[in-house]
Symmetry: C2
Subunit: 236 residues, 2 copies
C-alpha cells in the first residue's frame, strides 16, 4: 500500500509493435485474461516500475508479456493518453510507444496474458463496414490508429522501413515494406533511384544474390547509417 499527498495516478506503458508478415502490416496484441475487458484484445503493456523510465518499462513489458526479447528494431514514444475515464478501475495515464521489428517468431503468451498473436492492421481498424473485427480494450483502438499514422508518416522522411526487414535484405523486400504500410507499392524504378540515391540508406553486401522463385536474383543490402530521407519519399 502506498500513500501520497498528491492526486495519485497509475502510469502505464502500451506498445504497438508492428511487423510485416507475408506482405501484411501486422500488430501484436494480447488477449486479456482478467477484468476489465476480459477476453478482449489489447496492446501489450503494463505498469511502470518505481525505478525505471517509460522506455525501459516498454521494453520490459514487451519481453514479459509476449516473450519478445530486445530485438534488432526500433522503439519510440508515441504519445500519452490521459482521458479520466480511460480505465474503469482507477485514474491511469498510458505512455504509448510504437515499435518496429522484422518478422518475428510467433510470440508466446506471458504470465498475465491469456494469449498473444499478430493481427493484420487492416482487420483491426474499420474501413469497410460490417466486418467482425475484434473489440479492443480501453482506448487501444485509438492508440493503434495513431501508431499507424506515425508509421506511415515516418516511412516518408526516415529510413525506418529498413527496420522491418532482416539483414541482409533485397530492394524488392524493402519495397514490399512500403507497399504493406502504404497500401500501394511505390514505382519500382523511382523507388530504387530514391533509395540508392540517398546516401547511407542501404549499403551493398558483397556476395551472391537472394534465393529466387523463378526470376532474377536480387542483390543484397544491409541498413546504412542514414536515418533521414531528404527530401522525403512521397506517398503521392
Amino acid at each position: 500500500m502506498y500513500t501520497t499527498k498528491y492526486p495519485p495516478f497509475a502510469v502505464t506503458v502500451d506498445i504497438a509493435l508492428f511487423t510485416i508478415r507475408d506482405g501484411v502490416l501486422s500488430v501484436l496484441l494480447v488477449e486479456r485474461g482478467g477484468e476489465p475487458y476480459a477476453g478482449a484484445w489489447a496492446l501489450p503493456g503494463g505498469f511502470v516500475d518505481p525505478d525505471e523510465d517509460a522506455e525501459a518499462a516498454a521494453w520490459r513489458e514487451l519481453a514479459e508479456e509476449t516473450g519478445v526479447e530486445q530485438f534488432s528494431g526500433h522503439l519510440e514514444q508515441l504519445r500519452t493518453y490521459s482521458a479520466p475515464d480511460r480505465d474503469p478501475r482507477m485514474r491511469t495515464v498510458s505512455i504509448a510507444h510504437v515499435a518496429f521489428a522484422p518478422d518475428l517468431p510467433e510470440p508466446a503468451a506471458g504470465d498475465d496474458a491469456a494469449d498473444a498473436r499478430w493481427w493484420a492492421v487492416e482487420d483491426l481498424l474499420g474501413h469497410g463496414l460490417g466486418e467482425d473485427r475484434p473489440a479492443l480494450a480501453f482506448d487501444h483502438e485509438e492508440i493503434v490508429h495513431d501508431a499507424l499514422e506515425r508509421v506511415r508518416a515516418k516511412l516518408e522522411y526516415t529510413t525506418l522501413a529498413a527496420e522491418f526487414v532482416a539483414e541482409p535484405f533485397t530492394l524488392p523486400e524493402l519495397r514490399r515494406v512500403y507497399a504493406a504500410v502504404w497500401g500501394t507499392p511505390p514505382d519500382l524504378g523511382n523507388f530504387r533511384r530514391k533509395v540508392l540515391g540517398t546516401d547511407g540508406f542501404v549499403v551493398p553486401v558483397r556476395g551472391g544474390g537472394a534465393a529466387s522463385t523463378g526470376g532474377r536474383r536480387a542483390a543484397l543490402y544491409r541498413r546504412g547509417p542514414a536515418t533521414t530521407v531528404s527530401p522525403p519519399m512521397s506517398r503521392s
Copy 2:
C-alpha cells in the same frame, strides 16, 4: 492523503508557450517561488487534476500561472518525460505540451509563481559558450530544446506559422515568423510563391494595406482553412 495498491505517480503538465516578440522567438517561463529550484526559471505547469485530461490541465495551468487566457492559438502534446529522478520530491511524470500564440501582453505572475516573463529562446539554449543564461528547473532545458525542434519542424509542413501573427497580417509579417524560428529568412519571392500557391494557407482581406514605415503598403490576409503544406516548405 491518498492510498493506492499500485506504484503511485504524480502526473504533471508543462507547457512551452512560444511567441514572436520584436522578431525574436520567445518562450514563457515562470520564476519558481518555492523549493526545489527556488529562484530558478521553469516552464509553466502543474499537477493534473483527478477529473481532467492532460490537455485541459495544460490550458488551466497556463491561465492560473501566467494569466494567459485561452488565446487564439494552438496547443498540442509534445512528449512525456519520465526519468525516475527528474523531480527530487517524488516520482513524477510530466506530459509536456507546446503552444503557439501571437504576441501577447506581458504576462502577470499567478499565485504560486514569483514572476513570469518571456525569454528569447536564443538566450536560453546554449549555442555560444560562456553566456550567463538562466538555470532552468528540472529537465525543462531538455523540454524547451525538444519543443523548439517541434516548432521548427512544424513550420515546414504545416501552416502553423500563421498562429504566430495576429489577424489581419501581411506576408512580410508572416515571413518574419519563419525568419525568427529558423534563424534566417526564406527567399522573398520563393516564400510568396509558396504561401500564395498553397491553397487555403492565407486568404486576402479586402481593404487598405497595413501602415508602413516609409515603404510600399503590404496587403492584408487572414488565416485560411489549410493545415498542411505539401510539399513542405524547405529550410534549405
